[in-house]
Subunit: 266 residues, 2 copies
């Protein structure tokens, strides 16, 4: 079975031009099949402010009204995805930018309205996912670059969490590839003590994670990220790592010791 490296980037790697450039050089140089999923960073909020839109959040999740889905379609699907793809091409990586509606790679459902109406937000519909098109592209030597946008098959674009997308795609492709999934983020890995950047855990088991949730050393935005990482590990993904973008190449080495490896059990 061939190894497929799947990388998720967001935040600082997108927002800081130097960090982005450095990451893209490392990513383009990775040998073998690879796939990139990106989030949105601060760019969408900044562009939204210029357009007079004020972002609304509920528990850290953006409410996506009509104007906001247009905004993220433009910023995630047009600006960021287009820039990443063009830059990767110039670095010799045959990238292809995709959103969920493209070739129907990410069919989703609009999140039902409960006490909160998240608007044009979608959750992937795993029963309708098919790895055929993505594995065909990978087999042709192409590198999919995927924006966090899905669709409801009724003509609507849906804003979808990039961590959830990458976890689902890694699981979907695991019967075909030995998948090495890397979540890039600001820290060197999962921290044992949130305020101590030197307390990077080399491994994190589900038991450890339960403890960390209970004592609040895992909290906030880390929870959905870690939940999706554990879902990938449970779904058969060979290796799941959370670490810093600048350690990407070291992470890809088979016995790399950078970042935190997500383990179902000890």
């Amino acid at each position: 079975m061939k190894t497929l490296v799947i990388v998720k980037i967001g935040g600082n790697v997108l927002d800081d031009p130097e960090a982005r450039e450095s990451f893209l050089g490392d990513f383009a140089a990775l040998p073998g099949p690879k796939l990139l999923v990106h989030g949105g960073g601060k760019i969408a909020s900044e562009m939204g402010l210029k357009l007079g839109l004020k972002p609304t959040y509920h528990n850290g999740r953006r409410i996506t009204d009509d104007a906001t889905i247009e905004l993220v379609s433009m910023v995630y699907g047009g600006l960021i995805n287009g820039q990443l793809t063009a830059r990767l091409q110039s670095l010799g990586c045959n990238a292809i930018g995709l959103r969920g509606s493209d070739a129907n790679i990410l069919p989703a459902r609009k999140r039902p309205k409960t006490s909160v109406d998240f608007g044009w937000v979608g959750d992937l519909d795993p029963s309708k996912l098919d790895p055929f098109f993505l594995s065909t592209l990978l087999g042709m030597g192409l590198t999919p670059v995927i924006a966090p946008l899905t669709h409801d098959n009724q003509g609507n674009i849906l804003n979808t969490n990039a961590d959830a997308i990458v976890s689902t795609l890694a699981t979907l492709l695991s019967p075909i590839y030995k998948v090495r999934l890397i979540y890039c983020f600001e820290k060197k890995g999962v921290l044992e003590r949130p305020d101590d950047d030197a307390s990077v855990l080399s491994e994190l088991t589900q038991e450890d994670y339960s403890t960390m949730k209970a004592n609040c050393s895992a909290r906030g935005g880390m929870l959905p990220k870690l939940d999706s990482a554990f879902a990938a590990a449970a779904g058969g993904v060979d290796t799941v790592i959370i670490g810093a973008a600048e350690d990407l190449c070291k992470n890809v080495k088979k016995n790399g010791t950078c970042g935190t490896r997500i383990m179902l059990h000890n």
Copy 2:
């Protein structure tokens, strides 16, 4: 040889929600392989105004500065392309949105600065064009939906005239398919007398066109459109038609009599 229908839309078909919806229904229902190229319409200028950008033109062509290439990357590559693709998917057409950098389908060169600096504007580089990826997608039953954005292989996105793109792609695919190329626009076809909507020409030869240019009955924005249409006909494209979007289905019928057929000679 299979027939491939290639359609170019812009202007009113994109700007008017009803015209767009009606067109997409007709387009999705066309049998066999098909490909869509879209322009930008007024949406980019409107979004630019909201962002405080004032469009600058030179002889009807937009000057593309740093802010403008970001704007058109967002509007053409993100918003319009994403909306068209998602809507076509909902209509049962397996669309895939693409820009020139995606799988390197449209390599281009930044237009050299002369007396006018057009900025981030590109002209296709026919020597580097390869039909392999697009014909592979078509062979898989996918419908490429192409935004008027190319790239210079140095990481830069370039704004590129959609008429020129569609003409070049139709020529590129003509050795593989019997191509029927349809330019959709506001009028029912090329008008013999610009102010008389009933004076639609059923055919236009290169000789007629020279006469019309000489007596100014072909002028303005029609000139680059007709130049690109004649270039396609000269490049081996089987059928080239200019007509109204609402006549699309009639145009596709082999002996359709709608619109103006572009002929090299009588």
